[in-house]
Symmetry: C2
Amino acid sequence: MPGEVRGELLSRVVDRMAEQGVSALSLRRLAADLGTSHRMLIYHFGSKEGLLVEVVREIESRQRAALASLDFDPVDSPADAIRSMWRRLADPALWPYERLFFELYGQAVQGYPGTTALLEGVVESWLDLNVELAARRGVPAELARTHARLGLAVIRGLLLDLLATGDRAGTDAALEAFAAGYEAGLPVPTPGGVGARRKGRAPTR
Amino acid sequence: MPGEVRGELLSRVVDRMAEQGVSALSLRRLAADLGTSHRMLIYHFGSKEGLLVEVVREIESRQRAALASLDFDPVDSPADAIRSMWRRLADPALWPYERLFFELYGQAVQGYPGTTALLEGVVESWLDLNVELAARRGVPAELARTHARLGLAVIRGLLLDLLATGDRAGTDAALEAFAAGYEAGLPVPTPGGVGARRKGRAPTR
DNA sequence: CGCCACCTGTACCAAGTGGTACATGTACCG
DNA sequence: CGGTACATGTACCACTTGGTACAGGTGGCG
């Protein structure tokens, strides 16, 4: 079942799906685009659903890699951290992959077989990263988790917006409004009192 | 082409799709579930794509209706406004429709025929509402637009989270963190200076 | 050489797809 | 009554789908 050909094939499959979408693609068209026969896809992945599972796994793995490569500067303020994350993710070069991500997300919440694995960790793993980061600054884990959840929602929500409208300026402004809130010192409803207030800085836009 | 039967049929189609998803459904299965024949669906809607177009339009129309029915209390603070909006949308009874919405959204960003109409107004129409609301409080339109965009992203992003994880408490907390930021007086980067700062109030949670 | 594991193509299959032709039913209105 | 517009069902069509059977084709190694 294993093989080195398989991995190379899978990677090309994901790229193709990012361009053409997943739900409209048949094994035959996919194989034709890749210069092989649909027989090969079945041979390597067992079935169409098996292929889909691997695609989902590959996307998860790529996201995990992207997440690990973020490697925030620990002196970054939360505001700067989310700014830099947005700057990376809003890059039009990534749009095809984000479209694919949201398409699969939509399938997954509907429970389509093969895609649901995407949902495990699609939120949690990102939160864990932030909790770890926040720990270095002495922020309690529960609080960090909540704000990471909010930040993730902002980014995903604005990506949805961006992919639908293409309005980079508008979404940039909205993100900046969010980041600016943190810069001014967001009140954090922790029993200990108001959270760390940072010095203001002129907005970059 | 018109007819009263058609409207009733469409409404039931949307309900079924909310339960079973759209991309895995064939006209035959759909018709069987509805107690009719696939011939009828083609008769009333012309083709499968035609049906999809009508479904999308229906969903848009329902959202518009929901939006119109919100009818915010004009004395609500922005924080309370987004709180009440979240409270309505996070209701599990709406989850099937939200799943359907995100599934179609995913299809639409990929450009599948029949679904792309969903994208027109999927952001703008919600912004317009807020701009109008904000005008009553004297907030400039451009600023209101940006913050509405942010609020919409927060809600959609948290809905994605909620549908994937089912973690109502976690998403509630994240939204509260967002709302609390507004309550404490969010700095608004308008040329005229800092925007209206409101009195703080103890968080409800 | 022969054997074996991996890989690939051709031909085929049953099942399901969207869509159409045609016949039929039903109700309103002249 | 008859006609006409809307509605519905049955039977069928060409086509595509995922999956399988079978026949190779490599290349390494005894």
